[in-house]
């Protein structure tokens, strides 16, 4: 339930189309619904402008299906993150309208077109080809939340002229997401070029002292450019969500 459908419901009651009893029952579900293994937060669309997102890791397919079935009835978009192909197939067997994106490991169920709700464009840059899955997760998230998103992949600092080729696109974006593994240097360089907020996403690409992305994370937190804030390693979803929030102000 979101702000719009709440208005619709109340208008419908006012006009006599919906009985008070029906409305009460509907609103009773508003705060949350306890299905034993989960407390679905139906309130979240109202409170945060976007419904709860299902974190797939550590949940059984049965849990995911149960939660989705409750949510799909009430929400325009339902997203599951960190869900592998095997679990996704088990879910799709029950909820065939959803769509699975294997590189981003996301499952999305949406009803109709998503209207654009952002002020400007979100630009997603990745340092390497291997960082694309995380960048894709950010892209799908921001698009599902109603944003216009562009992407440029594989423009890391080892050949920095590739990045400067996109200077105009970079300067025109209203929010930037920069995805990088290894030494995680790209966000600092990009943030030095613009007066816009940069969301940095460290990835687990690298080996040895990349420590599964920890080095990139710490490098980004130490950025000598100040318009950088950081999300968890490989958290493309969080970056897309945060960028959408910023783009909506």
């Amino acid at each position: 339930m979101n702000s719009h459908s709440l208005h619709q419901l109340l208008t419908s009651v006012a006009s006599g189309m919906t009985s008070v009893e029906e409305a009460a029952e509907s609103l009773a579900r508003l705060p949350f619904e306890n299905i034993d293994y989960a407390h679905i937060d139906h309130h979240r669309s109202l409170r945060k402008g976007f419904p709860e997102v299902i974190f797939g890791q550590g949940k059984t397919p049965e849990h995911i299906i149960g939660i989705m079935e409750k949510m799909c009835a009430n929400e325009k978009v339902v997203m599951v993150t960190r869900i592998d192909a095997e679990k996704a197939n088990a879910v799709l067997a029950k909820i065939p309208d959803a769509k699975y994106y294997s590189d981003a490991r996301m499952l999305i169920h949406s009803k109709g077109e998503i209207p654009n709700q952002g002020r400007g464009k979100i630009l997603i840059l990745s340092a390497g080809t291997s960082d694309i899955p995380v960048a894709k997760e950010a892209q799908l998230t921001a698009e599902s939340m109603g944003n216009d998103v562009n992407t440029v992949f594989d423009v890391g600092v080892a050949g920095i002229h590739r990045l400067f080729h996109y200077r105009r696109q970079i300067e025109e974006a209203s929010v930037l997401i920069v995805v990088a593994g290894m030494e995680g240097a790209l966000p600092s360089v990009v943030a030095g070029m613009v007066s816009r907020p940069v969301i940095a996403v460290p990835t687990s690409i690298g080996y040895g002292v990349s420590f599964g992305g920890l080095t990139a994370l710490f490098a980004m937190l130490n950025s000598c450019s100040s318009n950088v804030a950081v999300v968890n390693i490989d958290n493309g979803f969080g970056a897309g969500y945060m960028a959408a929030m910023i783009n909506r102000i």
Copy 2:
């Protein structure tokens, strides 16, 4: 030099008030100025909407004075961060117009009033009384960059009714900065209440396994709320800067 003074200069040339030679000399300084121990980035106001900020740690008072003298000639606001009282006094002896804020360890030199450039209000919350210095650094930074800033201190999760008392202020802010040490739980709770971007700042307050703020940092990066991005430990300056950037979109 910022976008406005660039226009003034060019208009002045167009009108014959300034000779081409004078303008050329002035613009020659635009990209940066090499004073041996520093390359002052005069370009930054144009490129990023705000001049370079001087990181005081590890610099001698002489370095700081030399850089400030060059910058104060060209910029409306010049900030020095991470500068202790002793160094600040040495600088103030040479640049008496600057002002030192001992709790935030900042030195600020500004010419005249700073016009409001933000869309909405920035709200800064701190979990404890001991986190106030970091929150103050964020406040001074965001205010110096032309934002309307409110603060609420000491509303940590051990007595969560204190936080809920400020629900309206929290919901009305356009960007939130949440400062917390120890277990760093406050940003998750706040972010769960709003549909706005939350910049989380871990502080080094705590002992034992707080690891000088590392635990709070990691907790914030793991937030189960998605509208949270994080800056370095005790980095009030970065949080204020990032919030200002977001508030300007």
Copy 3:
């Protein structure tokens, strides 16, 4: 052997029902029994009010069977923790009376009903659906030790109104176990609501800088609420055991 069966034995000797030789043999086994690869601590029921629990990890099925056979002869309840399905099946082939709980990875053999030995109720809360297996391990342990246990799952801080819905249950519990991964914030919030001891259990749910539960652990140890003590990551068993001990004072 527990305190009750010791009394029975001695009474039986006093009445002539059991010969001194038989009693001696029986008591000889009291301190421990050496079966080469293990020293079974038969003394533990007497000393600690509950028999030794078998830690399944790193033991072969043969080891587990051997130890269980000795213990089942003497104890009302025998528990094996951290035992995967494959090993459990090998054990069940020999000891079919035991029961395997796959989500909690526990194998339990009990003779008859377990009498309630606790003063009040133990309440187990989990932050997410993915934390349920650890919560279940705590529940099974506390119940096997004779406690009345309630559970509420998926009430994490990102939608804190769900937690407050259970305020009465929370306030009425005599001991609380709070299970959480990611940023591990739930125990602080719960402990701030009650005057009862809270056992916090960090879980390995999360990714990136959750470090397999380490961040949640450290956050809990840094709790700004003081009525919190912590057990090892994913150690639902330890939490259940500790809660049972507290509930029995």
Copy 4:
């Protein structure tokens, strides 16, 4: 304000001794009081059975005095932890009734005798002489919360017969606090001897790979005895608080 003084207030209103206006003003302060740099949680005595405790680290003497003055008016016992001698003296100059305990680095202000509220005895054991300050912090905390506390110091595992000498005292305690640095082995051994909850407190005593108490902490979390839960390094206060909560069930 605690449960008892609330009753007194209401009775006083009922009897006409206190006017409704006076009572209202008094109760208005109940949830918390905002003194700009702190939100004093007057509610806490009611909710948790003990008033808020002031964490001295990172607070100025002025902050501490300001908070204490507000609290001392309402509470029977006010404690400040982690306060060094210099700060304590500054506070004592303003609040001379308080008492400073230099080894435990605590400052305590109490009105009259504290009634015993515990079921049994709390026993505090330390592994070494160097661990005594932490043990003392636990002792002062538990005593201030109305408990009967015994202590035995310097009974570490390198000469384990010293520990066994106190077997009776150990077995008779209702809750045990075990304080140890270095390898942190003592809680495991003690917990193996009793059927009571053991709160383990790691200390920063040691050098090299003691890592300021981290090794002792991890050892205690890995205890092969199950009736052990752990608090932060050097957190004698937390251990005393938790033990008091347990002893009150």
Copy 5:
């Protein structure tokens, strides 16, 4: 080649049994032999009293076979450590006289009985049943190097009376090896009972903050008993080797 066979060779030359050419060829191999992927250190028996031991991890079966074939020609005992069953079978197909010990993951080739070369007895204690594989590796190593070895398994500190039952055996050993995972407390307790050197071996048994044995390692290095020295995690081989060296002084 060891000291004894060197004497035999030289005596044989002196008596005319071996030609100078044959002896020269034989001795030419003494320092080492280069077989391209390895430099076999034939000198080591002379220098260290025991031949080189083959570290199986990271070597192909072909490498191991090649090295063993060269060594078996010259040495009475050849040991391979850290070799899994699959590789071992590949080696056994070529060198059927060797024997594989699956729990200790060792492959040993020996010619005839190994004479006792130690002064006293080596005693190996393990804290748990799960630590037995590491203890077995120590046992096989020390026995192969000519020592009289006893073992007592599963006598950890959670039921410390089991350990004290073996007090006499413990006091009579000339060197002790103590193997423990989890909190690693056993070596401190044992070392406190004897005036003999204790070699402590941390194992990777445990979970959560056992960090694969790191906690046990650090606990042992912090032992409050001084007659303890430590080897790497799970390094039963190193402990057995070191104990043999000590027992030979």
Copy 6:
């Protein structure tokens, strides 16, 4: 495209062999080529004297094939690092002229003989047999970049006379690469013998506190010999590349 082929192209234009249009098209590809998932840096041969190297980890076979096809058209040598056998086979099915080196996990495509471009010899030493795969990666890289390379394997410090046997070869090399796992001591010893730069490569060989090569890395960075610089763990490729750069000065 490298410096030589650029000259050829321009000469060909000058002589009329190549039309201006053809040359323009060819040069247009010079800075980089965007194939959606990658920005191929054709400029790199000109700028750095060697083409971009494809990092195989995290890329799909399709990505690798796509990038190789573009690069093989322009470059004399194309290398893929960190590519496992399965992916390599998928690539070889499309690009059969390439050659796979399974121990070094490299795939190399080269046209004709590679001319020697180095000043002196590069010598690669490994501490153990298990370190050979990393040493091989360094060797293949340096040879593909036109260097004369020698190798000596398994000369670790436990039998240091083996190393001294190669003293002359060591002293005659112009650059040395020293590969070692475990305690990583070999580079210090080698660097103490020569007046040449030593590139140290830590490997992940070892167990327990080798931490997958971290201990060797840190030991090498702490070398008491000063002519040592270090690359990432298992980064044979980087060491070979760096040595080639040094040998070309």
Copy 7:
């Protein structure tokens, strides 16, 4: 009290020189003496062949004096470790017969000559001049325990010919202590030269990734030579104690 003085006491009783009451009182103190802040383990000389050693860190001068006064009455040698000059002076004012060694930070009180109790010689090697204080602590400890000790300082691996100059001394020692900071390579090289046990002592000398000795510690635990066991960082005392135990077998 040691084994010899126990015999003397009992003989004296047998001969009537000492009354039963006097002997009883004397023996009553045998297990330990409780002086409130310490439990002095008078039993330790009997059990371990050497009295308890006082760990100075974290103890007040009053504590140390109190413990020493009790021990000096009963023991031939009393040692205090980790005691700084200021504390030592406070102790010496009360116990002037003791002697302070400032580089080793030890205070030793002994009565008469210490007889040699070792089988062979202990040799202590240090890698650098900066490691000498730790080496001296080992030397004083071993000498106080009745051993013949030699030292060779500053023979690190950067100029390995210096070490080989002492080959004979190295080969003749019965136990070796090798002290090194930085990369900690020396113990591996020394252990490769001898068939004797080597006790390795990491020191905190170094900077950056030496991590206060952690790198040297881990390098030593990973030694490719097997006759190495390790003590805590800077623990010269432990190394000397362990070497004395080994030398006495």
Copy 8:
């Protein structure tokens, strides 16, 4: 003693200018000289082309003076690193010809001009003003070893146009040293611009998750540019030494 002075000595003997006895005595000192607390490696100039360098940390002024006096007699240049002002003054009182550089914390004693021994120029770049002390240490070292050295300071990636201004100088250097703290991104960018070896030096400048330079170190080791090798944190000396070695090939 270096290669040249060895030749002089031998020629002098040949011509009868020096007696055989004098030469013998002189050469006897060649391998090393034992002055009890140090083994001075006089051999090092011959072996490594540059004399031993004295690591000041952890040595007393007396140690440093003693070592310098021996070395100054034989060497053209003697350097002490990591020596603070107080120790330096104590040394200068005895050896007034030496010169102290306080920012680089180095003390250098040289006889006459140092001839240029390098092939090309060494260029040292620093990311910030605060990194200058480390850069200076590298500069002094490389100059003392006979190299032509240029420096450019404060050209970090937050304003990357400053770096590109020096493109020509960067491309013309034969070896580059790049010094950076915080996120340590500069070496990757520089290495991407050149075909020369880059020695990266992480500095401890930064705060929070810079971990005293560890983040910069790890970022540099993860560089996506391959012509980068790394030295220890703040190790300007090592970088200068390594660059000198490379520049001499």
